[in-house]
Symmetry: C2
Subunit: 540 residues, 2 copies
């Protein structure tokens, strides 16, 4: 987090004509400081940007001093890290061929899954490969992460004259390791990161006496900040103030970084929640691909959508995945992480919420017996686990790392990890819970009946209900056997045993020169799956 | 100006229990940097403040880092140069006796004329002494000037995150050398002091595209800034947005510096006008006492008041005094100052208004024959001059330094020095012009008939219609003769000759121990007046 914020402070974003400007831009910027990295990306077909990281903060200050405002009588001369590189008449064209510039990436994808995602999935070796591929192709990448921190920096910078300690931090999917390309940017604005006063200090800042209660004050402050960013900050548009929600937010688009943003205040638990999810993601390489696949499935099945309602949220889904992985002995309980915390891990958020847990995962003792299931096995088992889960009497507790008796009436009960008395999934109604279970059962069934798959929607494609258009119907050989017994899906037996899956199939299609993108000319090679014994215990 | 702004950047204002805290405060602050100067003042009977100037900007940064916010969950943690010095329990009381601290002034008067102003005037030696005394006791002093620049700095600082080049400059009476204690603080906010773009720079700041026309944009920006200062900035209260005036302004009180402020934008000619008035004030020591006296007279006679209307403004009155002094060969015409300007003096304000004139008065050639009239003579002559001025056909032009034919219909026409096509006194109606002339005539009459003065309202007291309450009626001896022939007042003769005034009087009163403030126990010593030949030419 602090590395990323520091990076953002040393970065500027510069609009250019195209990636070909990078040599000239590098040459120009190098007068002012040492260019560390350059990232190029596009918005639409026409807008090209280069994000430049400098070596030192003073390099950025030098760049700022050397940059100009134009038409100051018409435009508000706002200072921000967003610039454009103008063409000057009669400039000498230098020959930059073979010049070694630190352009890390050209045309970075910062927006959404690649257009040919389905074809990529189709070409994969196995479901596990598909999951890895889906994760790698849709997860937030380096350039995308930098743009998020730079967007936060813009807001922070503009308020720094009033609130010298102000911080604007990305939280949620942008930083928890589960972020997708194109996902919204959640930001939390803290006027002052240290709640504690310095009792040693005899000099106290004068502040404004406020007659408003806290909430009204927050709403008023957010209204003013919304007006500031709406009218002053370049690139920001469509500012909406949603100040009467439980957590008041300001929504806006930052068109230069192509991000939809939600800015809130006094939301420090969210920051620690992001840390927790990040840490769980770091503990095992299978965590994030599994989360990505489950979220994609839920979106395709319309179990989730972008609006709040009685359906499950991505956050709740993520907790379901983590909880499931705790049952598989892949992830430790939060209680375990809390027990291992030392004094450097102590974090108390607004409202005295204790967010203390072990941050340094190297201090986590190695489990004696590791679960070595592959991604496909874990995914299938995930669907089976939740299609059988007794939501009516059990609650999901990441703290305990096992199901607990439900503490209160609610269709689904997922304990908030930091405030176990709060239910993260309170919004879900019976109908949505039933849909979730049915779709999980269908998904499990799909993998069981994989033998019947058509070639153009095998594996995840089938799970997502996506078909590839092929000119020639591919031939699949050696279809896989059923992965699980059907009985496992429809009974509440305590133990579900997976059976060996022989996913030996090859597939080929003739290339058609007119439809190169859709042609498939690759031999699929069978992949051996290790036998996995899946055991699910419902602890009572 | 830049020296004052730099001083403000190195200053903080600290509320203390009383001036006795200065030793302890000095001791405490000296840990963080070198204290250059300390100024103490009070607001009302209870609020004590010490303004501290540090040696370096980094000292203030150190002070800021060492200062604390309290109750951050309730108060907005705004950073500003306004602090308070809290008492800590169990502190060790040090002995500060004889410690040499740079406390320049204790209980500086920053608000208004002293309570015993009339008594001070009463005790003066002569009308000229009264004028000097009035000027010295009511002019803006060092502490007051510093507070004005610090108040400007507060606004500037809070916007500096958005607009890195923003400047908030005092203008008008706070800086033109004609400022009175307690006068309003006029501020002009410039987003960017350099209107010209840097054509060499290839990097251009992104700015917000504005669909608004200029004026609507300025109003919107000022509305947002008004909300910022209203809600965030400590000490600021009673914010009023007057955005539909010809020059939109934000009015507010800064209660910590005890100032009523008017903030405007895009008002650069005002800054240069302040420079011009300042420069005229520097050219001769008699300029400012004369302006102060004329303004006080106008206020007492209700020729001016705090609200805009058909009456003459202080600014117009000031121009009348300067113009009159041009007629007396004491001040040069603006045309002369423009002719002497070199390339460093070139200033072009918003709207291409040329505000170029000589800034370095040492380059002004010495006049061969100096007018050496004393203040009393100049004052009397001022009244005579304007009671006879032909406002119906003549206009006042400081550029020409002489009356010009009136270019347009208007009761009174005073050319704006920088935009001679504009009439500064357009607002004055016939009735107010007549009142002005009548009161000027009465004032001249009063000095002519000074022989009849009562002891308790002699000189300026009489002019201001103020009487001293005395326990013992003082005895005046050797009353002055008439200063001017009465015919001079009531005829439009081209020449007015003053006659010798023998203002030889002595006055004494017994002190009464119960009314020390009102007792007079001083021998007035007659002051010789030089014979002055007053000659007024009406150039046609």
């Amino acid at each position: 987090m602090s590395r990323r914020r520091d990076q953002a402070r040393r970065s500027v974003l510069i609009q250019v004509q195209s990636e070909n400007s990078s040599y000239e831009l590098y040459d120009y910027c190098s007068q002012f400081g040492k260019v560390q990295e350059m990232h190029h990306y596009k918005i639409g077909d026409n807008l090209s940007f280069i994000l430049i990281e400098f070596n030192l903060l003073s390099d950025v200050e030098a760049i700022n001093s050397a940059s100009t405002h134009i038409q100051v009588d018409q435009n508000l001369p706002v200072t921000s890290p967003f610039l454009w590189f103008r063409v000057v008449p009669n400039r000498v064209r230098k020959d930059f061929v073979d010049k070694d510039i630190p352009l890390k990436v050209i045309n970075a994808n910062v927006a959404s899954a690649p257009d040919d995602m389905n074809m990529l999935l189709f070409k994969a070796e196995s479901v596990s490969d598909q999951m890895t591929l889906l994760h790698n192709a849709t997860k937030l990448n380096e350039t995308g992460t930098r743009l998020r921190f730079l967007s936060a920096r813009q807001i922070e910078l503009c308020l720094s004259g009033m609130f010298s300690e102000v911080t604007v931090l990305p939280f949620g999917s942008s930083v928890n390791g589960c972020g997708k390309l194109g996902s919204d940017l959640d930001l939390v604005l803290q006027m002052h990161p240290h709640l504690k006063e310095n009792v040693q200090s005899r000099l106290v800042y004068y502040t404004k006496a406020s007659s408003n209660p806290d909430r009204a004050q927050t709403q008023k402050v957010m209204e003013i900040i919304a007006n500031i960013i709406d009218h002053f900050l370049p690139g920001i548009s469509s500012v909406k103030k949603i100040l009467h929600a439980r957590v008041p937010i300001i929504k806006f688009n930052q068109t230069l970084t192509n991000l939809e943003c939600d800015l809130s205040m006094s939301n420090t638990t969210s920051i620690y929640m992001s840390e927790l999810l990040y840490l769980y993601g770091e503990l095992d390489w299978r965590v994030r691909p599994l989360i990505f696949t489950v979220r994609s499935w839920a979106r395709y099945m319309k179990l989730t959508n972008n609006y709040p309602g009685h359906w499950i949220t991505n956050f709740s889904l993520t907790l379901l995945v983590l909880f499931y992985l705790q049952q598989k002995q892949i992830l430790p309980s939060l209680q375990k992480l809390i027990e291992l915390a030392d004094k450097n891990d102590v974090r108390i958020a607004d409202g005295d919420v204790n967010c203390t847990f072990l941050r340094d995962i190297s201090k986590l003792p190695q489990a004696s017996s590791r679960n070595e299931d592959d991604l496909e096995t874990l995914l299938t088992d995930f669907f089976i686990y939740y299609s059988n889960f007794d939501f009516t009497t059990k609650s999901i507790s990441l703290n305990a790392g096992m199901p607990l008796p439900k503490p209160a009436e609610s269709t689904v009960y997922i304990h908030n990890p930091f405030e176990p008395g709060l239910n993260v999934a309170k919004n879900i109604n019976t109908q949505e819970m039933e849909r979730l279970k049915i779709e999980a059962r269908n998904a499990a069934w799909l993998f069981c009946s994989a033998a019947d798959n058509n070639a153009n929607d095998w594996g995840l494609l089938s799970l997502f209900n996506q078909k590839i258009e092929l000119n020639v119907k591919p031939i699949r050989l050696n279809h896989t056997n059923r992965m699980v017994e059907l009985t496992a899906l429809f009974s509440k037996s305590k133990t579900v045993d997976g059976v060996e899956k022989h996913s030996k199939y090859t597939q080929s299609a003739n290339a058609n020169s007119n439809t190169v993108n859709h042609s498939v000319d690759k031999q699929r090679i069978s992949s051996k799956k290790k036998k996995s014994n899946q055991k699910q215990e419902f602890r009572r």
